[in-house]
Structures are given as C-alpha cells and as structure tokens.
C-alpha cells in the first residue's frame, strides 16, 4: 500500500499505532488497513488545513482515538506506562521470557514430530520446557510485558529477519498464505482433536494428557492470542506442537501412499503367507534335529517365529530349522519353547521313484 499519504495523516496514524503498540503486529496492521483510508478521506474533506490538530478536532487525539477503538474492539486495556522511573523494564526477565518461549516452541515442535514414539519420555520433555511455564507465569502476572520483550535487541533482529524473509517471496504468495490462516486454525484443531481421540482410546494417559492439554489451549486461547499478545506464550508452543503432528501425519500418509508394501528386502526372503516353521525327516522317518534352508538363489530362508520374549541374539534371525515353537503350559500358564516334533509322520515305505532307472543300453 504505497499511496501518497498526507504527512499529517501519517503522523496521526503513527501516534495511533504507538498507542496500540502492545497489540499483536498483525492486528495493528489490520487496524491500519481499516482506518488509513478513512483518515485520508477525512483529510481530503478538510482540504487545505490538514494537520494533526485539525484531525484531532474531528476525531479526538490519536491517543483518544486508540482508546475508543480499544474499548470497542474488546482489546486488553493498554499496559500502564512505567510509573516515572520506578520500574525500568527488567531486561533480564524479558530476555528470559523470550528465550523460554523460543525453547518451548522448539521442544513443542519436536514433541509433535516425535509424539507417537515418545511414550514416557514426554514427561522429561515437559521438564525441559519448565522455563516456558515460568515465563507464562511471569507474563500473566505482568512481571514481563510483551512490549518489554519486543524491545530486546535479539527480538528486534528476529523481526527484521522475518520481514526480510517475507519480502523474498512475491506479495501475491504472501497474501495467499495469509488468507490460508483460518484454514490452519481449523486444521490444527482437527488434527490435535483426532490425535486426542486416538490417544484416549489407544494410548493411555501418558499420551492423552499432553495432547489433550494442547487441544484445550488451542480451543480456549487460540482466538484470544490474536488480540492479546500475552497468550502467545501459551498458544505458540501449542501451535508448533500441532505443526509437528501435522508434518508427521503427512509424512506417514506419503510413506503409506508411495512406499514399498511388504516388498522383500534384498538378500532375505520374508514369506508372509508361508509356513511358520519347517520340520525335516530322514528316509527312515527320523526327524532331522538341525538343518538350514536356502531358496533357489542361495538366499537364506527366514520365517517369522514366535518366542517366549527372551531376546536371544543367536536366534534372532536364523534360517536354522526347526525353530523352537511356543506353547503355554496349561497348568502354570508359563511360556515354554519346545523343539520336539509336534506330530507323527509316516514316511512313504515304497521306494521312491526318484532313483534313476538303470541304464539300459
């Protein structure tokens, strides 16, 4: 929006923005988009004598204008200015709040990515995110104000880098992505809600509690974060957790759609529908205690076999047969691995016809 704006309008707008500086930048931008054209029209009506004073006579001072807007929009009241030197924004606590947020966001993103495999280690991740919880308390007790955090040099540098990054992409693309934001708000709730459901049914409390908490945060505070920046400390980690989940699900979906399905891994023969064990017998019907199976290409034949759960490195993957079979003792319920032959056979007694016929010349 680079249209020539009257300097008085620009001044008025700048002071209004300053009075709304504690609101999220996106919301302030939306407000400026609304009132900018309006101020220009009022200025045009005023004609020659446009000045901040003339505008103030029509609309109230920029500060009054901002206060009226704030009241009507239901934004949180402006943070009171520091009472005359009594309280210099504590840089140390602001810095702590910022970095705790960054750390919390990273942990949340990782937790979302690895959620399915984390299990009990989620608890230790929560412990890692402890600084975030401290920061949330600091922010909501007004010990740290979002505006204090904004004034940190690293925070400024971060915003500058963000703006530069946005400028790299064409405006149309940025606008399009902005327009997609409501879709994301819906998607994140859908995905986290779905995962909550699955976790509740199949995962147990270790999974249900964290993902359920994220769902509650998104539902209760997602909207408020758009107008009250303090909620960022709660909603941003929840958002990144949801993003991690979405990426994981997407990757799983792509893998499912494109990946190999029960294809044999090179060098081994897995036979899903083949016998689960083999027993060999000699010509007199005596069981072979040990033999090894190979296929026509000389590759070892492995089967999936059951065990009593003991890990036995030597037996983990072998083409040695017969594999021990698992039985449960009917009296004690104990699992027993047995190697004897579970059936009786009758070896064909008539001499097999495989012997080559005597040479007849």
């Amino acid at each position: 929006m680079t249209v020539k704006t009257h300097p008085a309008v620009a001044d008025y707008l700048a002071r209004t923005k300053a009075a709304l500086a504690d609101l999220p930048a996106g919301e302030v931008e939306e407000i400026v988009d609304d009132i900018g054209p309006h101020l220009s029209e009022v200025a045009a009506e005023l004609g020659e004598e446009v000045s901040v004073e003339a505008l103030s006579q029509r609309l109230g001072t920029p500060e009054q204008y901002a206060a009226e807007l704030r009241a009507a929009a239901g934004y949180p009241p402006a943070a009171p200015g520091p009472p005359a030197g009594s309280r210099r924004p504590a840089v140390a606590t602001a810095r702590f709040a910022l970095w705790a947020l960054v750390l919390g966001v990273l942990i949340a993103f990782f937790a979302g990515l690895a959620f399915a495999v984390l299990g009990r280690s989620i608890a230790s991740l929560l412990l890692l995110a402890l600084p975030l919880f401290v920061a949330i308390v600091l922010v909501f007790t007004d010990t740290v104000r979002p505006s204090d955090v904004d004034e940190l040099p690293e925070s400024r540098a971060g915003r500058r880098a963000g703006r530069r990054l946005v400028k790299v992409f064409p405006d149309a693309m940025v606008d399009y992505l902005r327009a997609l934001r409501p879709a994301w708000w819906g998607l994140r709730v859908l995905v986290v809600g779905g995962v909550t459901l699955v976790a509740g049914v199949a995962g147990g409390p270790v999974y249900l509690v964290p993902v359920g908490a994220v769902l509650v945060v998104l539902l209760m505070f997602g909207k408020r974060a758009r107008t009250d920046r303090r909620y960022r400390w709660v909603v941003a980690p929840a958002n990144f957790f949801a993003a991690g989940l979405v990426l994981t699900l997407l990757a799983a979906l792509i893998a499912y759609l494109t990946g190999p399905r029960w294809e044999n891994l090179p060098g081994e023969v897995y036979a899903p529908s083949m016998p689960s064990n083999f027993y060999g017998f000699g010509p007199n019907g005596q069981p072979l205690p040990e033999f090894y199976l190979y296929d026509q290409d000389g590759r070892p034949v492995y089967v999936f076999h059951t065990s009593c759960g003991r890990y036995d490195a030597g037996n983990a993957e072998t083409n040695r047969f017969p594999q021990p079979r698992v039985e449960f003792d009917p009296r004690t319920g104990d699992c027993v691995e047995r190697t004897d032959v579970p059936f009786v056979i009758a070896v064909p007694t008539s001499a097999p016809t495989t012997t080559p016929p005597p040479p007849s010349k």
């Binding site: 939306e30 988009d33 054209p37 309006h38 009226e68 009507a72 909207k223 107008t227």
Partner: protein, 107 residues
C-alpha cells in the same frame, strides 16, 4: 439520556445490520450508520466493533484494489454473522417492546 450511552450496547447489532445486504469497507459502514440516523456514533468505535466482530468470527474480510487511493478492506457477514444478527435482532425487539410498554404505562 445520551444516545451515545445507548449505542454502546447495540453497536454490534447496528454494524451487522448495515452489512446485511451489502459488504462495505470501514468508511462505508460509518456512512451507512450516520445516514440511518446514528450521527453520534464514534469513528473509532465503529472500527473497533468491526475488528471485534471479525475476531469473533462473525465477519469475513477481503481487500479490493482501488485505482485511486489505497486498497480497501471490505467486511461482509458470514453465516455466523447472519445468525448473530437474527438472534440479537430478536433480543433487541423483545427489549424494545418491553421498554415501549413500560413507557406507555408511565406516560
């Protein structure tokens, strides 16, 4: 009693009402309210109300480029907005009827 005091409670309803038939940008909304007779409505209050209704999910917004002057951001009712307009309208009518009968009895 000052109209501006009364307006505070019903500005939501008034803004929804002027957007019912046609989308409009901020200044449109303001003008329609003034033309309808609500001269005392404050500029900033209208913009604030638009933002609150938007953030509450009752309005959609889109930007329309304009040949002269800045781009304009239009607001319009969505289903939630329409529903809210219907409900608030009902509440308002009931309230106005009550006040009418009250005043009729007092007069």
């Amino acid at each position: 009693m000052e109209t501006s005091q009364l307006l505070k409670g019903v500005l939501d309803l008034a803004v929804l009402a002027v957007l019912r038939d046609e989308d409009g940008y901020g200044y449109d909304v303001l003008r329609r309210l003034r033309q309808a007779g609500l001269e005392e409505v404050g500029d900033a209050s209208v913009y604030g109300t638009l933002r609150r209704l938007f953030n509450a999910g009752a309005l959609t917004s889109y930007v329309v480029p304009s040949e002269e002057g800045p781009h304009r951001k239009y607001y319009g009712l969505n289903d939630t907005g329409r529903q809210r307009l219907a409900e608030s309208g009902k509440t308002w009518r009931a309230f106005a009827d009550t006040m009418d009968s009250l005043l009729g009895a007092a007069a």
